[in-house]
């Protein structure tokens, strides 16, 4: 979107002058490289280098202190016969399939509510935003108690409704629902983004629709949703990238249990790399994760023509 514009402007600027035309522009070029050198060095040392190394490692057996042993494709073959790999992938996928869409719907609902003219708007916005400031560590420690089967807050409210409270973090069937519920507590960041998007929708559109007799639900469906769809797409992509890298909450709250019910992909990868020092295999797992994220993003971007509305471009 705006990345393309951002890149286009300097192209025009650099064509006006020649490259290396005079001593002055040569000096400017040298200064330019100097200014960006921290990133250039960081890119080579901390990014490009490790990426290549990770790719090479994924074809080896390697643990620190020993020479890597070339294995060819066996790490990848091993993945597809590894039950825990499949299991962690399934856990992470189920979590993503529920927590991302539910999070977007919750955030959108809250954003619409907070966008109404209400007294105490700022206070409400703060209340909904604050939880997203809390990190995985603190969230895990607090929610381990909130989901406590006997004394927990959640089961207390269920008991008020006359419902039996499950053993959330002790019963493998209820662990994933607990993680998903917990993730909804942190939607505040998305709410803020959505509020900004809602405020960007031109009021004339609503007024025109109202004159045409469209009710508020129709206006939401045919004006609000299409107008903010680019932001929804963005939040969907960043949400998926985020949930596929869930780590701290499961590491701290359940340690991946019970019965591996919360063995997230990154937790399994972490154990391979840093508990069992199977760094070659862990690198293969990391590359597979990268692939999944790339494919998800590509699919969403490719299919976005169907449902994302870009102002000024019209629909194809």
């Amino acid at each position: 979107m705006h990345m393309a514009q951002a890149v286009a402007a300097p192209v025009a600027a650099s064509r006006k002058r020649g490259v290396f035309g005079s001593p002055l522009t040569r000096r400017e070029a040298i200064m330019g490289y100097l200014f960006i050198s921290p990133w250039l060095i960081g890119f080579v040392v901390f990014l490009a280098g490790p990426i290549i190394a990770s790719f090479v490692l994924s074809f080896t057996r390697y643990s620190p202190g020993r020479d890597p042993v070339w294995l060819g494709l066996s790490n990848y073959a091993r993945m597809f016969s590894d039950d825990l790999f499949y299991h962690s992938l399934r856990v992470t996928t189920i979590y993503t399939l529920f927590s991302v869409p539910l999070g977007l719907i919750t955030a959108l609902g809250l954003a619409v509510l907070l966008n109404q003219k209400v007294i105490g708007q700022r206070v409400f916005r703060t209340i909904f935003y604050l939880p997203s400031l809390i990190s995985g560590v603190a969230v895990a420690i607090v929610f381990a108690w909130i989901f406590n089967a006997r004394f927990g807050v959640v089961n207390y409210f269920l008991s008020l409704l006359g419902l039996p409270g499950p053993n959330w973090l002790g019963d493998p069937d209820w662990t994933m629902p607990a993680f998903i519920l917990m993730s909804l507590w942190g939607v505040g960041g998305t709410v803020v983004i959505f509020i900004a998007a809602l405020q960007g929708v031109p009021l004339e559109l609503y007024e025109a629709a109202q004159l045409d007799g469209a009710g508020s639900w129709k206006r939401f469906l045919h004006i609000t949703l299409p107008m903010i769809s680019p932001v929804i797409l963005f939040s969907l992509i960043t949400g998926i990238i985020g949930t596929f890298q869930t780590f701290a909450v499961s590491y701290i709250m359940t340690g991946g249990g019970p019965a591996n019910a919360s063995l997230f992909y990154l937790l399994y990868l972490y154990r391979n790399a840093f508990t069992w020092f199977e760094m070659g295999y862990a690198s293969a797992l990391a590359w597979f994760l990268f692939l999944i994220i790339l494919i998800c993003t590509a699919i969403l971007l490719r299919t976005s023509d169907l449902w994302v509305h870009y102002e000024g471009l019209g629909r194809k």
């Binding site: 890149v7 921290p38 109404q116 209400v118 400031l133 960041g189 862990a282």
Partner: protein, 290 residues
């Protein structure tokens, strides 16, 4: 939505407005209560008497104030040391990120050099790469290559080498600053570094504040990186420290865990209230979620 002016409203219209308000306020207050409850409950629990049986129904407002629980946390774990470690790591990382990101962004936004656009596209695409892909070779590099296991190096040095997201944000901001000022300074013979330092940076204070806050939150809360690199307990950051408290003998006590969690979270909450404006602006312009 905005009512059409000079139209008399019917009684039905007023009834609908009232019903609408009841629904909106009902939902806001109900959901707001759910969102704020974990905060109230943790603070209340942090002040309960240790060793007493857990209360059911749970308490949401404190009836007792055992502030001594907070002191006990300092005695059970070297809390002051963990806190200091977190402050050191976070301060250095924020400083490094501000310095390197602003230098690099200035280069991309203000100076012309061959390959600039290609390099900027490379920079943008690096934001796509998930951390786990580089995690293992980086570990090998830091620990085996540079011998920096159990130092703050692996936590603090990478921000000095240009984090892509902050560079992107600052570069966009620098592009909006009028070039007339630097052209004038250039004619007066000012060096690029002086233009960066004396013209651009002072104008970019709001953007720098936004980056500083998000960098603070990210580094203060980071769990995975210190977990990988720090095994010496004296070097633990607070994120590792409160997890350590939870797992140690006698750490199963609710009140102490909550006291630890409250003290861990407090700096982020305070910072948010001090700099609310920058936080909200930052989220809106970058799509970053904090």
């Amino acid at each position: 939505m905005a009512a059409i002016p000079f139209k008399r409203h019917s009684a039905q219209w007023y009834v609908r407005q009232i019903a609408r308000n009841v629904v909106v306020y009902g939902l806001l207050i109900g959901l707001g209560a759910i969102f704020i409850l974990p905060f109230l409950w943790s603070v209340t629990s942090s002040l309960r008497e240790t060793g007493a049986p857990l209360s059911f129904p749970p308490q949401f407002l404190p009836t007792q104030f055992n502030w001594g629980n907070y002191v006990r946390v300092f005695e059970m774990i070297p809390f002051a040391t963990f806190f200091r470690n977190s402050v050191i790591v976070t301060t250095l990382a924020v400083f490094g990120e501000l310095l390197s990101a602003s230098l690099v962004a200035f280069g991309f936004a203000r100076l012309r050099f061959p390959g600039r656009n290609l390099l900027f596209i490379v920079l943008l695409s690096t934001m796509m790469i998930p951390y786990p892909v580089t995690m293992i070779p980086s570990f090998i590099l830091w620990v085996r290559g540079l011998g920096m296991a159990n130092t703050f190096g692996p936590l603090v040095l990478p921000p000095f080498f240009g984090p892509a997201f902050s560079i992107f944000l600052l570069r966009q901001f620098f592009m909006t600053i009028n070039t007339e000022l630097d052209e004038a300074a250039k004619i007066d013979g000012a060096s690029e570094f002086r233009i960066y330092w004396q013209i651009i940076l002072p104008l970019a204070k709001p953007a720098l504040a936004t980056i500083a806050i998000f960098s603070f939150m990210a580094n203060w809360n980071d769990f995975l990186t210190p977990l990988i690199y720090l095994s010496d307990r004296n070097l633990y950051t607070l994120a590792l420290g409160i997890n350590f408290l939870r797992n140690m003998r006698g750490g199963g006590e609710l009140a102490l865990q909550m006291a630890g969690a409250v003290m861990f979270v407090a700096p982020c909450i305070i910072l948010y209230f001090l700099a609310q404006r920058f936080v909200i602006q930052g989220i809106v312009t970058t799509g970053l979620k904090g």
